[in-house]
């Protein structure tokens, strides 16, 4: 009987000590917020387009970090972004939901613009300038191609155009050999973020 009492007491006391130590450690190593959010947000293209179903890049980053959203919802980021996030989160890469389109920019047909400023309010990155009753125009260097300005325009005078390809931004494609393609297609993890 004493034996059992000793056993219970010693085990209980030991567990208590361990518990106290851990409680103190919890206080000391308390983590404010989620540091992963910022890291994920840094990988996103910041188009603020909302195609992921969240109202911007940061909310999506929060959702991914919290495990609510999958890593494959960012459409403009494409495969590269998906792989980088999957690698950061340590999860398996997933197929993209939608194929990323070629980079586009918005263009206002100025003779049709009525100067309603609705598109200016809709633009998440302040890339449209203009004043009430004046023609508006898109600063093409700032436009992320999110298409959020198309919907509010009452006269449908905004077009999405292909982003002009610059010779300075041209980069070499992969060598056109079977081995290059095979090796490239095989990459699965650890890809993407430079």
């Amino acid at each position: 009987m004493t034996q059992l009492l000793y056993a219970l007491l010693s085990l209980g006391a030991f567990a208590l000590v361990a518990g106290i130590v851990l409680a103190v450690a919890q206080k000391v190593f308390h983590v404010e917020g989620d540091p992963m959010v910022e890291k994920i947000d840094n990988l996103l293209p910041q188009t603020q387009c909302g195609q992921c179903g969240y109202p911007g890049c940061k909310p999506y980053a929060e959702a991914v970090s919290g495990g609510v959203a999958d890593v494959n919802h960012c459409v403009p980021g494409g495969e590269r972004t998906m792989l980088a996030i999957a690698d950061l989160m340590g999860v398996e890469p997933k197929d993209l939901e939608a194929e990323a389109t070629a980079p586009m920019i918005a263009f206002v047909r100025e003779d049709e613009c009525i100067g309603c400023t609705l598109c200016i309010k809709a633009c998440p990155v302040d890339a449209i300038i203009g004043a009430p009753k004046q023609y508006h125009t898109v600063i093409s260097d700032h436009c992320t191609g999110c298409t959020l300005c198309i919907e509010p325009c009452p006269v449908d005078c905004i077009d999405m155009l292909m982003k002009p390809e610059l010779i300075e931004h041209w980069s070499w494609p992969l060598p056109d050999t079977q081995r290059a393609r095979l090796g490239h297609d095989r990459r699965e993890t650890h890809a993407g973020h430079a």
Partner: protein, 193 residues
């Protein structure tokens, strides 16, 4: 001094926990995808193993033996290891969120890492002194770290090498581990304990 060196050598190379005793295979395969993760895991295991082996020796010597409670050995040791793992988990979460993400489930799973419990129990069975058991625990952890980092380096290379589709991933990892184990057999004649 010679004894210390011999214990370390034996724990790191000759009786390597992963490659000759085949303990702790789970994190060995699970966290060896990238060198950075492997290094993080190695340090976590080093911390847990060294402290667990000393703490368990103390518990065994001053609590269990005097009270005749040796049959509670496993429960006590697991309790120690679990607390240590919880502690290191909080610490890593605070200091390196990326490593925390990278280690994922394998961090709390150090608790069930048989190498850690194995070291503690073997220490007791072999009737080591306090110093030698601490050394043995540290050496075993060092051996774990060595093979884990070596293995992750090899895996990183294999990953970008054009290997047949059939062998890609785990199959080739297991074959590599087997070959490393064969290589470590070569150390078995190095010291006699």
């Amino acid at each position: 001094m010679t004894e210390i060196a011999l214990i370390l050598l034996s724990a790191v190379l000759v009786n390597n926990y992963v490659l000759t005793k085949f303990l702790g295979i789970c994190p060995f395969l699970g966290t060896s995808g990238k060198v950075e993760t492997a290094v993080g895991m190695s340090f976590a295991v080093m911390f847990v193993m060294t402290l667990a082996s000393t703490a368990s020796w103390l518990v065994q010597e001053y609590l269990l033996v005097p009270l005749d409670l040796e049959y509670l050995q496993t429960i006590f040791f697991i309790l120690i290891i679990a607390s240590l793992v919880q502690f290191i988990e909080m610490m890593i979460h605070k200091t390196s969120p990326v490593l925390y993400q990278g280690l994922g489930i394998f961090l709390p799973l150090i608790t069930t890492n048989c190498a850690v419990l194995g070291v503690a129990i073997l220490n007791v069975q072999q009737e080591q002194t306090f110093l030698t058991s601490a050394l043995y625990g540290f050496g075993a952890a060092l051996g774990f770290a060595l093979v884990l980092i070596l293995f992750s380096g090899i895996r990183e290379r294999i990953e970008i090498a054009p290997v047949p589709e059939l062998f890609k991933g785990s199959p080739l990892a297991l074959i590599t581990a087997g070959m490393m184990s064969l290589a470590f057999m070569g150390f078995s004649g190095l010291v006699k304990i």
